[in-house]
């Protein structure tokens, strides 16, 4: 069909059905679109056709809607089932992948930005998947002796990317610098750098022979001081230093550092050759280069392409020198809070590396909780514990303080009541420093929130605590309660009617059980405090924090004392007068024995105040209970 043939009402032929539907869908090319639009404006017939088309579309949509899955099916995706299936599938796939590819796959995945299709489809719902581009290098030429220098550098860089420090760790290497007289081969030591690479940021630290560590992050940071410290003791020619400083070169053995060296060498010459179990690439500088550098060399392992040695060769009037840096990997260290502080301390150069990780193309690593054993306690943790204490969130709640791998603190856990959560959040907001707070209500957890295990290891078992809570008011007034006779006798003489007496018994029993439970909660909170702030963790805390901890502990002990005394007073009238008064046993010295005692009193209360199939001897139990309470009173 041609558009320029005059016909019909509008002077043009009517668009056919395909064109009309394409027009409707906005899929015509612009020129055609203009024409059809003009035609439709002037042609009644085609306007009617469009209208009819719309009706048909609506009819179709209606039929489609009827046959769609029910809203319930759509609203409740079997997420867990799918996750399990995917994880199983993923585990199978991973186990089949070659090791190298696996490492690269995961690194690249985290590494590549995810822009392409997200830009094309603005639907935010889809904007989560990461685009992956992996260049799979073939290792067929592993045994070739001649390799392109660039290829070697690319692979060495791949190795580095695949061997970044693991999450929660800091990779350490020692870089030894020596100067070699190339004519006599005489070596002299210039010193050793410690280089620490962070897993959570792109920062790394340089520490020259125990002096103040310096955060450097790629080319942005000022690296000259570090070099000058070395230069002060041993001579590195001024033009060389000048060039290195200008290139913002950092004395470490890595491909980025090597490339920075080459940035303006003024030559295109490079070569690579295999030498035993390593490959050496050589990049020449232009002759008469102002830096007096003649060549830069990088030596990598032939098997894995790990960069091992970097050399700067110079020639000046005084002689020919090689500055050789040799890297020695050290065992990785845990990313403790001290490390995190060093990497992100305000005021240090490079402190804002979080915002500019582009320099090294390192992905920001996942932030994970550390266990209490891994990091010492900080003042901030103590402050958070104090805030939780104020909100009573230390009692019986599943709330933990997590030191995170990036040095931050996370308060996470479950709480039953919204008001208590609000209260706790308010208290935590008042601590005066940034803090992640994730306190969920159980209903929210079901919707897929993340919860970590306690940093203290497994949760303390609370069977005994659970046991004290099963009693209900109905049980309290039951006639089968072991103490029933004594209670009835006591309360009848103080009541107007039988009904009144049984109400009083119920209220009394309720009080006793509540107090017993509160006692246990405080003992438990004390124990958690002891575990979280154990002697190893608090070793380096300032005196003020230690005092605060002691205050928190004392508060719990005080409450245990008060509650135990109250309970003993309540129960005193029912003791068998024939028996000798209960003697106060030895005072518990630690929170573990306090918890044991609290559990014991809880169990006895439960036995005495609830219906139990094996009714204990009321007198003996009561006596034991009083002994326990006396022990806890102080």
């Amino acid at each position: 069909m041609k558009w320029n043939q005059p016909t019909g009402a509008g002077g043009f032929r009517h668009p056919d059905d395909e064109q009309l539907v394409s027009f409707f869908d906005g899929e015509l090319d612009p020129a055609m679109r203009v024409e059809v639009s003009a035609h439709v404006t002037s042609c009644w017939q085609c306007r009617a056709r469009l209208k009819e088309m719309e009706t048909k579309i609506q009819a179709f949509l209606e039929a489609r809607r009827k046959s769609l899955p029910s809203p319930e099916v759509l609203a409740e995706p079997p997420v867990e089932q799918f996750r399990e299936r995917l994880l199983r599938h993923s585990a199978e796939q991973r186990s089949q992948m070659p090791l190298l590819l696996r490492a690269w796959g995961s690194v690249r995945r985290a590494w590549q930005p995810s822009a392409t299709w997200i830009a094309q489809h603005q639907r935010p719902a889809l904007a989560v998947v990461v685009i992956v581009v992996v260049l799979v290098a073939t290792f067929t030429d592993l045994f070739n002796n001649t390799l392109a220098a660039e290829t070697v550098l690319l692979r060495a860089r791949d190795y580095e990317i695949a061997h970044q420090p693991r999450s929660g760790e800091v990779a350490i290497s020692a870089v030894h610098l020596e100067r070699i007289d190339r004519r006599t081969q005489a070596k002299s030591d210039l010193g050793t750098f410690e280089v620490a690479h962070d897993s959570a940021t792109a920062a790394f630290l340089l520490d020259a022979q125990g002096s103040m560590p310096q955060v450097v992050s790629g080319p942005q940071a000022e690296t000259r001081p570090a070099l000058l410290r070395l230069a002060a003791t041993q001579a590195i020619a001024a033009p060389v230093l000048e060039y290195l400083a200008e290139r913002r070169w950092t004395p470490e053995v890595s491909v980025p550092a090597f490339r920075r060296l080459l940035e303006s060498r003024g030559s295109e010459q490079s070569s690579a050759r295999r030498d035993g179990d390593s490959i050496e690439v050589r990049y020449e500088f232009s002759s008469g280069h102002r830096s007096t550098i003649t060549e830069a060399r990088l030596r990598v392992d032939a098997a894995g392409y790990a960069a091992r040695q970097l050399s700067i060769l110079t020639a000046d009037a005084a002689g020919q020198w090689e500055y050789r840096l040799t890297r020695q990997e050290q065992p990785p260290q845990l990313r403790t809070q001290q490390w995190a502080t060093l990497f992100a301390a305000p005021g240090l150069p490079g402190a804002r590396v979080h915002a500019s990780t582009s320099a090294l193309n390192l992905p920001p690593a996942r932030i994970t909780p550390l266990s209490y054993a891994q990091v010492p306690a900080s003042e901030r943790e103590v402050a958070v514990a104090g805030a939780l204490h104020q909100a009573d969130a230390c009692l019986g709640e599943e709330i933990h303080i997590f030191p995170m791998s990036d040095g931050s603190l996370l308060v996470q856990g479950l709480m039953d009541r919204r008001e208590q959560r609000d209260n706790t959040r308010r208290r935590l907001a008042a601590v005066g420093f940034p803090l992640s707070v994730e306190i969920y209500l159980p209903s929210e957890v079901k919707r897929g929130q993340r919860l970590y295990d306690s940093p203290d290891g497994p949760t303390i078992p609370l069977e005994a605590a659970t046991a004290t809570t099963v009693a209900t008011l109905a049980d309290f007034s039951s006639e089968q309660m072991p103490l029933h006779e004594k209670l009835t006798a006591y309360f009848s003489s103080r009541s107007t009617s039988e009904d009144d007496a049984s109400k009083k018994i119920a209220a009394f029993s309720n009080d006793v059980v509540s107090i017993s439970r509160q006692t246990l909660l405080h003992a438990w909170a004390l124990q958690r405090l002891d575990r979280a702030f154990n002697p190893t963790r608090v070793r380096s805390l300032p005196a003020a924090s230690l005092q605060e901890l002691e205050r928190l502990r004392a508060d719990h002990r005080r409450w245990i004392g008060i509650l135990s005394r109250q309970e003993a007073e309540l129960l005193a009238p029912f003791l068998d007068p024939a028996q000798p008064p209960p003697a106060a046993g030895p005072n518990p010295s630690d929170s573990a024995s306090l918890v044991r005692l609290a559990e014991q009193q809880g169990m006895l209360i439960r036995a005495l105040f609830t219906v139990s199939s094996a009714a204990p001897d009321a007198d003996a139990s009561l006596h034991r209970l009083m002994t326990t309470l006396r022990q806890m009173e102080r």
Binding site: R109, L126, G396
Partner: protein, 185 residues
């Protein structure tokens, strides 16, 4: 005073067991998220193709396993929406082909039962399912696919990619389908 729940860490333990193997931000978790978000649209389309919700769900999940494989291998997925629909579509077609073979066996069996006067429930179930799609069944498969995908908001280019036809043909099938559809009203 603390509520009873605080004493029962059991639900927490159970939850964290499942939680432990989750790695937030991992490819797996991102896919789970994508699955949740795209499920309503994809499931609707797949159900039209496959007939039952159960089969559609299974095909949908297999689609995401394929996506996982693709990304895990390091192959790029350029146009996610089109990709998901295409793979889902092809999986459904394969499924139908396999089922077609199974169905012919089933119809023989059904025929036997009917002869014996025992057909009953099996047959009912089958015709029920047919009824659901009765209206849409007026359309031939290509027309139905194009219309359904268009209704999901896919562009002609995407539809062409999913169904495996040219963009021009998409408009042909759409207009033909609509015409047929409207005539049946």
């Amino acid at each position: 005073m603390h509520s009873e729940r605080a004493f029962h860490p059991a639900h927490l333990a159970e939850f964290t067991r499942a939680e432990r193997q989750r790695v937030p931000g991992s490819l797996e978790e991102q896919l789970v998220e994508l699955y949740v978000q795209t499920r309503p649209a994809l499931l609707g389309y797949l159900r039209h193709l496959a007939g039952s919700t159960g089969e559609a769900e299974d095909l949908l999940q297999i689609t995401f396993l394929r996506l996982f494989d693709q990304l895990q291998k390091g192959e790029a997925v350029q146009e996610m929406r089109g990709w998901l629909y295409r793979v889902a579509h092809n999986l459904a077609m394969d499924h139908l082909r396999r089922q077609g073979r199974a169905e012919s066996a089933a119809s023989v069996w059904l025929e036997d039962r009917r002869r014996d006067g025992l057909a009953g429930s099996v047959e009912d179930e089958y015709s029920n399912q047919q009824q659901i799609n009765q209206v849409l069944n007026l359309l031939n498969p290509r027309e139905r696919h194009c219309l359904l995908l268009r209704a999901e908001g896919l562009s002609y280019r995407e539809i062409a990619g999913v169904v495996g036809i040219s963009e021009k043909s998409v408009s042909v099938y759409l207009s033909r389908g609509l015409k047929k559809f409207g005539n049946a009203e």
